[in-house]
Amino acid sequence: MFNHLSTYLYQRPKLILALLLGPPLLYMLVVYLGSLFTLLINSFFYLEEFTGLVVRQFTLRTYLQLFSPTNLGIFGRTAGMALAVTVVDAIVAFPLAYYIARYASPRWKTFLYIAVTLPLWSSYLVRVYAWKLILAKEGIISWFFNLLGLQGILDGILSLPGIGGSSLSLSPIGMLIAFCYIWLPYMIVPIQTALERVPKSLLEASSDLGANAAQTFRSVILPLAFPGVIAGSIFTFSLTLGDFIVPQSLGNSRFFIGQAVYSYQGTAGNIPLAAAMTMGPVVIMVVYLLIARKLGAFDAL
């Protein structure tokens, strides 16, 4: 019986393909793209201020609202934070990824790999609240600065206009630290994977042809690891763009995209504006990917 079925399917490769691809494709189209499409449709409706009801009529009025100074400020602030998180994460992740990929022994490598991904096993909320305590005015970081008698330096940093605040947990710097910590694994893993794919003989060849370590790094390692950095940056950048927990828990009261979307669709009931707001990160990501392609990030793929 089972053999018959097996033979029947063996003779019809297209049927197998349909059976295998059907369910995930259906899910992709209906649940995933479908909801994105609904979001897009909703962004072209508008909220009647007076009645508080959504008017289902095509209009660009909602999109116009995005260009209000407040909303432009939100976009700028969020994109700036996402960029800062990406740059800091890339700089922090590269040496560690390089060490794991090139120098660590197999056992040590497994250990480091688990260490890097271990934080992902625990709840993200718990970790954000932990950072809130660490960065608080009475937290371990201020305590440490006090201990070393370097309170002045911390106060100096916190008094910087724009990024400072009354304490680390209430400043954009604190938010940057928490973001960088939370998304770091997403940067390390792709860079490490890219570096592992660089054969050792290429580094030997470079050195054989007269390049010292710095020249080899600049001319061979960095260009070949660049697709990994870009892959990682897509994670760190887009995850920061959409996050609303970290900005809510840390930093000052100024809004980020995620928070804005959350509040518009919640109490305000302004689904169209929330939907239009969501299109912001989509556009920013498309621009980001186009720039990345221009820089040659996908040439080696």
Partner: protein, 342 residues
């Protein structure tokens, strides 16, 4: 005599307990095509990597034209390598790959371009400068790797099994081409291979490696005709090794000797041995007809099996196959055998 290109003075390289190279002494002459031949794990590649600087000797010293380079990093040695997997930079064009050595030495761009053109001509790849390595065939990549190494005018060029990945026909073509290029540029080539035929056809001299030790150094004919050890006799070509009682019966001494299968004459049992010929009787156990020649397996008195190869000058397959089970007399000239010790 001029300074040797490479001189190994009691060089050892140990990896933990494993003696990859054990007290190697070696001199490679200026301008020669020198092969390091041996099975995998025999230490030949480790020797090459120590000359390049990728590995450092555990003890002993390596001299490059009289200069002790044992502790110099690869980028400070006037030596370049053609890698087994070519190791071309995948993100650079063929031209940029070839110019790499000049680029890191900050040679002006105009000169770089000129020399890249010369190199492309040398390896017959003119017009390929803009391509990426991924767009090339195996043989073309091989030549780019060669050009990339030669553009720096190294004192010594190291080649690590560079033909290993090519198919037979391309391989033979590249063997001829490599030899021609070496003659033209006049640089000392050190060629690592496990293919004895390749080593015999291309080299001026060969070093045979086994288990971290250099077994013999000599010209291809010396290696083939006068193997210094049982290992060399067996690894380079085919050999019959005879020792003990059987050896005593033939030569009067129990010491092991080797005799090449093609040097043995096969005759009827009543044939009279000529002057300086050694002989022994046996029975043909097996016959393999191979067109160009026939291979006989003969069990000689005393029990050993000897391989005998006879060219099919007059015989046909019918003639040779009927020889199975017949009694024969084997004889060979005493100059054709080598004593190989224990």
């Amino acid at each position: 005599m001029s300074t040797p290109a490479i001189h190994f003075d009691k060089v050892s390289r140990h990896f933990g307990e494993v003696k990859a190279v054990d007290e190697a002494n070696l001199e490679i002459r200026d301008g020669e095509f020198f092969s390091m031949l041996g099975p995998s794990g025999s230490g030949k590649t480790t020797c090459l990597r120590m000359i390049a600087g990728f590995d450092r000797p555990t003890s002993g010293n390596i001299f490059l034209y009289g200069q002790d380079v044992s502790d110099l990093p690869p980028y400070e040695r006037d030596v370049n390598t053609v890698f087994q997997d070519y190791a071309l930079f995948p993100h650079m064009s063929v031209g940029a790959n070839i110019a790499y050595g000049l680029m890191v030495k900050k040679v002006p761009k105009a000169e770089r371009l000129k020399r890249v053109q010369e190199m492309l001509e040398l390896v017959r790849l003119t017009g390929f400068a803009e391509r990426k390595p991924s767009q090339l065939s195996g043989g073309q990549r091989q030549r780019v790797a060669l050009a990339r190494a030669l553009i720096n005018h190294p004192k010594v060029l190291l080649l690590d099994e560079p033909l290993g990945a090519l198919d037979l026909k391309l391989r033979q073509q590249m063997q001829v081409e490599l030899k021609a290029i070496q003659k033209r540029v006049g640089i000392t080539f050190i060629f690592v291979t496990h293919d004895q035929e390749e080593a015999l056809t291309m080299s001026d001299r060969i070093a045979v490696f086994n288990e971290g030790r250099i077994q013999q150094v000599g010209t291809p004919s010396e290696i083939y005709e006068r193997p210094a050890s049982a290992f060399v006799a067996g690894f380079v070509g085919t050999s019959n090794l005879i020792d003990g009682e059987t050896a005593k019966r033939i030569t009067g001494s129990e010491e092991m000797f080797s005799i090449r299968p093609e040097k043995i004459h096969l005759d009827a049992t009543n044939a009279e041995p000529e002057k300086d010929m050694l002989c022994i009787d046996g029975v043909v156990r097996d016959v393999v007809y191979l067109g160009l020649f026939t291979r006989y397996l003969v069990e000689i008195e005393g029990g050993s099996d000897l391989i005998v190869i006879v060219q099919n000058l007059k015989t046909t397959s019918m003639d040779v196959l009927s020889a199975r089970g017949q009694k024969v007399r084997l004889h060979w000239h005493k100059d054709h055998m080598s004593r190989v010790g224990a």
